[in-house]
Assembly symmetry: C2
Homo-oligomer: 540 residues x 2
């Protein structure tokens, strides 16, 4: 028997495109003599469909698309993720299902039991958990078909009181097929491999794992679908950050023959780099946009953002605007110009002095001689935001936000100013990682001028300003932020780790009191405009 | 036996204040010879505590506070909502509990079984559902103690496969105590009463129901705690939109004696009015702010916002800024000035012409003679936003956003312009309701000048502009938005209701393609800064 895995980049609510993609792979599989081709979790809707699932019509359109796909599964069977209605009167109205398509029809649904509802996941909001267990019998093989989280309850303190594999293992399956929607984070590849390995070894079964690839605004799927033998050895690993399609002889897998093995070993920062480039490219493409604009300050954040955007969209499609004020240093402009020239990106220099003076004059009678303070600093950042948005409105550029996660966390940024933007490229990247990214970008030749990387970070909103005037050094800041944000450690625990108590309290207070600035600089859910079909994509 | 209900306004993470409030009521209850005093769901943490629940330290502090309160429950017992740790290795780490405190100690926990995870609720993210059922035996009575949603599974298509009251009814309880955190919406009072009535009559038991009151940024709790007899008759109804404390003779309730009955019958628009005033007042007070600023345009949205703010904070604390441009009509300024004078609110007039011209000049070389378009309209709105934020930064005012829900839904507003603001007062109020609110405000005398209510709505961003140039009339718009947003009806269903197909498709397309503008004009979770104690409140 031949099994194919299709790792595809779906588009939420874009049924026409998703369907076309899937059918094309079924046809390819059929040509290759494949018996069963496997697609990812909720492939037909894209993941995460979120509140679209609350609209009956949306779910009906998923099912109609699945029926149309089934008509193409005459010889080759397929497993595809889709939401289905719960036929029972009790419980939530939907199940998260793996549909088994064969001989022109949907033959069976395998329902998801464990519904993740933490971090980026919200599945219990929409889906009823499965309680009835079965396996798939196909061409003489018994297959345990399950969905993503169904395999993840293998920790020491299991989150769920049930393990779906325990329920079907008595039915003696020959192997496992798990369809997933498992987003990228820079620890995820190791964690995911470990979880799959625990299952393979615990149940002594080989395992086919199919993930999504591509970006859905703030979620990045890295792909990395894989095949593992019953001893937990990776027999084959599919591409990261691009679509892939591979055919396997089941016999090879059951025998534990290594196909290509692990092929994607790379430094973490390289993975982050590729993830961000893919994220920008998909964001623009799925929304029907082509060109980005950003404020290039001469600092490291906007430099890295510009380079990533140039790699994603082509340098000619990244319009860099230098917006110097009376406080900008000479090197800021020359550094920024050098970067734009190194990458062959268009740029303009627009002085903000005129509007700055006009605001000063307009506000003078109301400010009553009060001294220059954070108000005037914010004013400059907001004037820049207004100019960038005006160019965006006039010419249809999408503004890229250039803030990093560290400054976002402590609120070091101006709301409605430098926090503006349609996509926050570095919004989930700590400042120390931004430096790593710059070094990675320059690994072969100097793309980002060295001076941008080595000079002390500054917002240049008043004379001689440095980030370190109001922030701790970024190494300490990022370590403490990591414990608080990623590890959910409270002040007491972080201090007990040996960090300076005053510093910890100061940083956590900044994080908490600046909560109001976050979650405002992201455009959310804009991809969902595709529900009505690609002709309705947002273009203006 | 005497039972007291305490309907209080808690503050998320402000353990000191919440504890003090609760202890004061226990002391008052003891003086009144009360046997058992009942507080709301998750009273000790405030509701919703959200991701604070992911921090062990936060939950420990809840439990420490409960222990300290228990020391005050020597004679009078208390039931108080609190998160508790799940002692089992399996399942989520917490339960949502009702702690029973008596004779100086926590004696029992009653755990929540049904965890709402829809609409504003996210409880399954944090809590494990209860599976073991018991009742409280206290002074010869058997009491079914449960928590909010536990009583809500009484619809025709129940969301959950279990009913906690079915599990305990065999233990023959004498009455029900339900502690809740049930937010206000303008249908909620009827729905809530109906749900409680179904339980009272289904199980033939009287019912004590205790709700929260007060605002937690975007959630408004209306209070309206009540006592019902076993036939579903309301024996007493506590205050709406303010704290309340009442003592009942259990015998009266068991006998079905009407205490005061229903006392709060009022028009829906009056409830909305009071809810918004409470919301503004609580938002400012809980954050330690005192003074608001807003752009008073002469239109109805900013007029209603200003009046609500004046009622919440005192007219002297609402600073109105008129920001006329070259396109503003004369009546806009006079109408706005008349309103400010009617309410005795301070105001200033700041012309935006100078910065507008400065931006035009600065951008001229880059705009290359292209005609005036939405860019220049947005520019004016953004200049206003910059001026309001500058005044906010300089003097510590909090900017109120004045957009309504209808324009927010269809994206009729300028991102980083008139969508700016710390609190979106009318963000959940449709335009037709804004008119109703204006009429309600003027019910006794003309506070909002009649001309503001009757003139055609206009953004005044170009000569002769009217809202109806780009929007349908607000009656049709709101009806269609209501079906789409509140009722989750898709395009097909709404068209089948008889609405014009072109209009429906146009409106839903606007809603979808403008998703990116929403969720950016709210400051979220700022109240959570109180975790570290009131001294850490955000003040600048």
């Amino acid at each position: 028997m031949k099994i194919a895995l299709a790792q595809l980049n779906y588009h939420i609510g874009n049924f026409a495109d998703n369907k076309r993609k899937i059918i094309r792979k079924i046809q390819r599989a059929e040509k290759a003599g494949v018996d069963l081709v496997v697609f990812a979790e909720l492939a037909i809707s894209g993941y995460p469909p979120r509140d679209f699932l609350e609209f009956e019509d949306f779910v009906k359109r998923c099912n109609t698309a699945i029926d149309e796909i089934a008509a193409h599964c005459t010889k080759t069977a397929a497993i595809i993720g889709t939401p289905v209605f719960n036929p029972n009167k009790k419980g939530k109205p939907l199940y998260n299902a793996a549909a088994f398509l064969w001989k022109g029809k949907v033959r069976k649904h395998f329902l998801k039991t464990l519904l993740p509802n933490y971090d980026v996941f919200d599945e219990y909001r929409y889906f009823e958990p499965n309680r009835h267990f079965k396996i798939l019998t196909f061409k003489g093989f018994k297959i345990a078909v399950n969905i993503c989280e169904d395999l993840w309850n293998v920790t020491e303190n299991p989150l769920y009181t049930i393990n779906p594999m325990d329920e079907v293992i008595g039915m003696k399956p020959d192997f496992i097929i798990n369809i997933a929607a498992s987003p990228f984070n820079y620890h995820q590849i190791d964690i995911r491999t470990e979880v799959l390995r625990k299952n393979a070894t615990k149940y002594h079964l080989p395992l086919f794992y199919v993930n999504h690839v591509g970006a859905q605004t703030e979620l990045l799927f890295d792909g990395g679908s894989l095949v593992m033998d019953s001893k937990g050895k990776i027999l084959d690993e599919m591409a990261y950050f691009k679509e892939d399609f591979r055919v396997y002889e089941l016999d090879d897998i059951l025998q534990g023959r290594v196909i290509r093995g692990i092929t994607n070993q790379r430094p973490v920062i390289g993975m982050i780099h590729d993830a961000l480039v893919m994220g920008i490219r998909n964001y623009f493409k799925k929304l029907g946009f082509g060109r980005a604009i950003l404020g290039l300050s001469g600092g490291i954040d906007s430099a890295v953002t510009a380079v990533l955007a140039a790699k994603a969209l082509g340098p000619g499609n990244v319009y860099n605007v230098l917006l110097p004020s009376r406080f900008s240093s000479g090197h800021s402009v020359t550094d920024a110009v050098n970067l734009a020239n190194n990458m062959d990106m268009p740029y303009d220099i627009i002085e903000i002095e005129k509007p700055f003076r006009a605001f000063e004059e307009t506000l003078k009678p109301f400010f009553k001689g009060l001294p220059f303070d954070v108000t005037e600093e914010n004013l400059q950042a907001r004037i820049r935001g207004v100019i960038l948005m005006a160019l965006s409105n006039k010419f249809g550029y999408i503004l890229l936000n250039t803030s990093n996660k560290s400054e976002g966390a402590v609120g070091y940024g101006t709301l409605y100013g430098d926090m503006n933007g349609g996509l926050s490229v570095l919004g989930d990247v700590y400042k120390t990682q931004v430096f790593e990214l710059a070094r990675y970008i320059n690994r072969d030749s100097e793309i980002i001028p060295e001076n941008i990387i080595t000079k002390p970070p500054s917002a240049e909103l008043r004379p001689g300003q440095k980030d370190t005037d109001s922030l701790p050094d970024y190494e300490s800041l990022d370590e403490i932020l990591y414990q608080y944000i990623e590890k959910r450690q409270g002040p007491k625990e972080i201090i007990e780790m040996g960090f300076d108590e005053k510093l910890v309290r100061r940083i956590l207070k900044m994080v908490n009191t600046n909560e109001y600035k976050r979650d405002t600089s992201y455009f959310k859910g804009i991809v969902q405009s595709f529900w009505y079909g690609p002709e309705d994509a947002h273009r203006g």
